[in-house]
């Protein structure tokens, strides 16, 4: 679950980035409208955490431009102004949720998970595929009720595949889910993680579609 954080306060930006990473998100952070616009082009973010008051403009402008591009990425507004009028203006511009500062990190993570879930067209929080059960909030995976330990990146890949059952996800898309901008991507990292997943959950679980990507296979 890749998140873009747009927040101009350095302390909060850093805290959000580290805190959301701890909660299982892959988080990138920018501090201005200009940087946000650049980041939003060409990167697939699962959700956007947007501060309203930015040094070079309003977060609402970013939101408006995003929706005019017919980009439906879920947006959660984060702001110190939380009068009813502000909230209404934000939601009417196309925001999906609203949190007033100061907020609780766990609540923010839960709301983001809910936003992403709804954007993916699901209403149930727990992902299921055949005999597998994946809970994004507790970050646990069970196979036939038996918990299976996965690393953070393995979990992210499995979550991405399970939230798009049947779809083929490219290697680039999976890398986007795993790595922020500053992180070095090893060339064969995805292959290594897929290999580990297969050995833990069964070789038939993830099928390789040559030259395209990966998808969930038959009986794990």
């Amino acid at each position: 679950m890749r998140i873009l954080i747009v927040e101009d306060d350095a302390l909060l930006r850093d805290g959000l980035k580290v805190g959301l990473s701890l909660a299982g998100f892959t988080a990138d952070a920018v501090e201005s409208c200009e940087e946000a616009d650049a980041a939003l082009v060409g990167h697939g973010f699962d959700a956007l955490v947007l501060d309203l008051m930015l040094p070079d403009g309003s977060g609402l402008a970013i939101l408006k431009a995003l929706r005019e591009r017919r980009d439906d990425t879920p947006v959660l507004l984060l702001t110190a102004r939380d009068s009813v009028a502000d909230r209404v203006a934000g939601l009417d511009t196309g925001a999906d949720d609203y949190l007033g500062k100061p907020f609780d990190l766990d609540e923010l993570a839960a709301r983001l998970r809910a936003l992403i879930r709804r954007a993916e067209g699901r209403s149930r929080a727990v992902l299921e595929w055949e005999r597998l059960k994946l809970d994004p909030s507790s970050r646990t995976v069970e196979k036939d009720g038996v918990p299976i330990r996965l690393s953070r990146r393995e979990f992210s890949i499995l979550r991405a595949l399970m939230s798009h059952p049947g779809a083929i996800l490219s290697k680039n898309r999976l890398e986007d889910q795993l790595y922020g901008w500053q992180e070095e991507v090893e060339s064969n990292a995805i292959e290594v993680h897929i290999h580990h997943l297969r050995s833990k959950l069964g070789t038939e679980l993830i099928q390789t579609v040559r030259g395209v990507g990966y998808r969930l296979g038959g009986e794990p």
Partner: protein, 478 residues
């Protein structure tokens, strides 16, 4: 006296009373004089008439002696005879007298007017001596009767007055009430207002005399409303600005709690420490603003030694991490400014903090002097990125943080500096140096410069000497 109505009533009552009293006194005196004049003339006339009757033998004095008066006294009850007549021989024998006249001689004098007291009553007597016939005619008026006559006239004048006076008082009172009605209306309007109602009073139908008061009141209302609006706005803004750092602190604290990794935890805790410092600074700046705005300190006229203050601040402000060098020109320490030291310190502290926050590591901050027309400029120049030209007008606004923001800035420093300088009668100039970096200038008008190198000198009118090398870049007015 608190009430204008009562005050006017007393003043008008006393003055009207005094006018009435003097009018009464004047009428009394003049009426009395007039009546006395008329009665004296009558007395004289009567005396002469009796004398002429004797002379023309109409009255035979010798025969008349001892006879009863020819006509009986049929005097109506309640009628006081006003005149009494006596005819005496020059030898002192009473030849005849009118009815009711006293038997005692009315007067001893020979001729003309005199006053005598007979049986306790005062008489006004006119005497005519007829030497040829050897008689003296005395005609007298009883003064008691005369006084009564005068008093009757005066009473006739005063009685209506006494009736009129209360009516007059009532009219005065009514007129005052009517005259003060516009004031009463305003007072009622004001006292019926809730504290939050600062709308102007209706000045269209107020009297011309109180229109200035109403206008001043409306002006005051407008100022109070403006002040209240600014305070409300500022409080809302301040609360808003505090929420972001608080959110940052809470998030970092939750990161520290949630992470099992000691490195992440330590980093979060360090961030919290920095965040607390920054939030503390923001709170201090908010308090500074409200202290300056309240102006309750009653700012003094100094003198302030800008050089010494800047040096103290340079030592006090933390910039160790950046290894900056802060240079204070020696001329600054010889200068004295008629300005409250606290205000100068507030302004200089925020300008220096701004310079420190924006300076690159190892950079130099130069404090010097420059001239700009009649103003002396205390210059603080840093080697940072400066302020983008399009933001120069906005940076003095509260909470404005431009593109070249420092991580620890609050957007309040320059606003505080300007506020403090304005309170001291100075102004803040900002421009970018040619080589990059911000030049912040405290413009001190010549009237506030208290001499160069002469501590505590009396106000000088001569311009300060042009300093050989005040700053690298002369400052121009924007």
């Amino acid at each position: 006296m608190r009430s204008i109505g009562t005050r006017l009533f007393v003043i008008l009552g006393i003055t009207t009373g005094l006018v009435w009293l003097s009018a009464v006194a004047w009428i009394f005196v003049s009426t009395r004089a007039e009546i006395e004049h008329v009665l004296d003339a009558r007395l004289m006339e009567a005396g002469r008439m009796v004398n002429s009757l004797i002379v023309s033998q109409e009255i035979d004095v010798a025969r008349a002696q001892g006879l009863k008066p020819p006509f009986p006294a049929r005097v109506p009850a309640g009628y006081d005879r006003q005149l009494s007549c006596q005819i005496w021989s020059l030898q002192g024998v009473l030849i005849g007298r009118s009815e009711g006249a006293p038997e005692k001689k009315l007067s001893e004098h020979r001729d003309g007017f005199s006053q005598t007291v007979i049986d306790g009553e005062t008489w006004r007597v006119f005497a005519v001596e007829n030497a040829a016939l050897g008689v003296r005619v005395l005609v007298g008026d009883n003064l008691r009767i005369r006084d009564r006559l005068v008093n009757d006239v005066i009473r006739g004048l005063l009685l209506p007055t006494l009736l009129i006076l209360p009516a007059l008082a009532g009219l005065i009172w009514f007129s005052i009430r009517q005259g003060l009605a516009p004031l009463d209306r305003i007072a009622r309007n004001l006292s019926a207002r809730p504290a939050s109602d600062l709308s102007p009073l209706d000045s269209a139908d107020t009297a011309r005399e109180i229109a200035p008061v109403v206008q001043s009141l409306n002006g005051l209302f407008a100022r109070v409303a403006g002040q209240r609006e600014r305070e409300r706005h500022f409080t809302a803004f301040a609360a808003h600005e505090l929420r972001t750092p608080l959110a940052g602190l809470k998030t970092q604290a939750q990161v520290a709690l949630a992470s099992g990794d000691p490195a992440i935890r330590d980093r979060a805790l360090r961030q919290i420490a920095v965040g607390v410092d920054r939030t503390g600074r923001l709170v201090r700046q908010l308090l500074d603003i409200s202290a300056i705005e309240a102006g309750e300190r009653g700012w003094t006229n100094g003198p302030t030694n800008p050089g010494a203050e800047l040096k103290a601040l340079a030592n006090e402000l933390p910039h160790a991490g950046k290894a900056l060098s802060i240079a204070v020109a020696p001329e600054l320490e010889k200068m004295r400014v008629a300005m409250d030291p606290d205000l100068f310190r507030l302004a200089a502290r925020n300008l220096l903090e701004n310079a420190i926050n924006h300076s690159p590591p190892g950079g130099t901050i130069a404090c010097g002097l420059a001239m700009n027309g009649a103003d002396t400029i205390i210059v603080i120049e840093d080697a940072g990125p400066g302020i983008p030209t399009d933001e120069l007008d906005q940076v003095k606004e509260r909470f404005f943080r431009g593109r070249n923001r420092a991580p620890v800035g609050s957007g309040l420093g320059l606003a505080i500096a300007e506020l403090a300088l304005e309170q001291a009668g100075c102004s803040l100039l900002l421009r970018n140096a040619a080589a990059g970096g911000l030049v912040a200038g405290i413009a001190v008008p010549a009237t506030l410069v208290r001499g160069f190198g002469k501590p505590d000198a009396s106000p000088v009118s001569k311009p300060p000497p042009r300093l050989p090398e005040p700053t690298r870049v002369p400052l121009r007015l924007p």
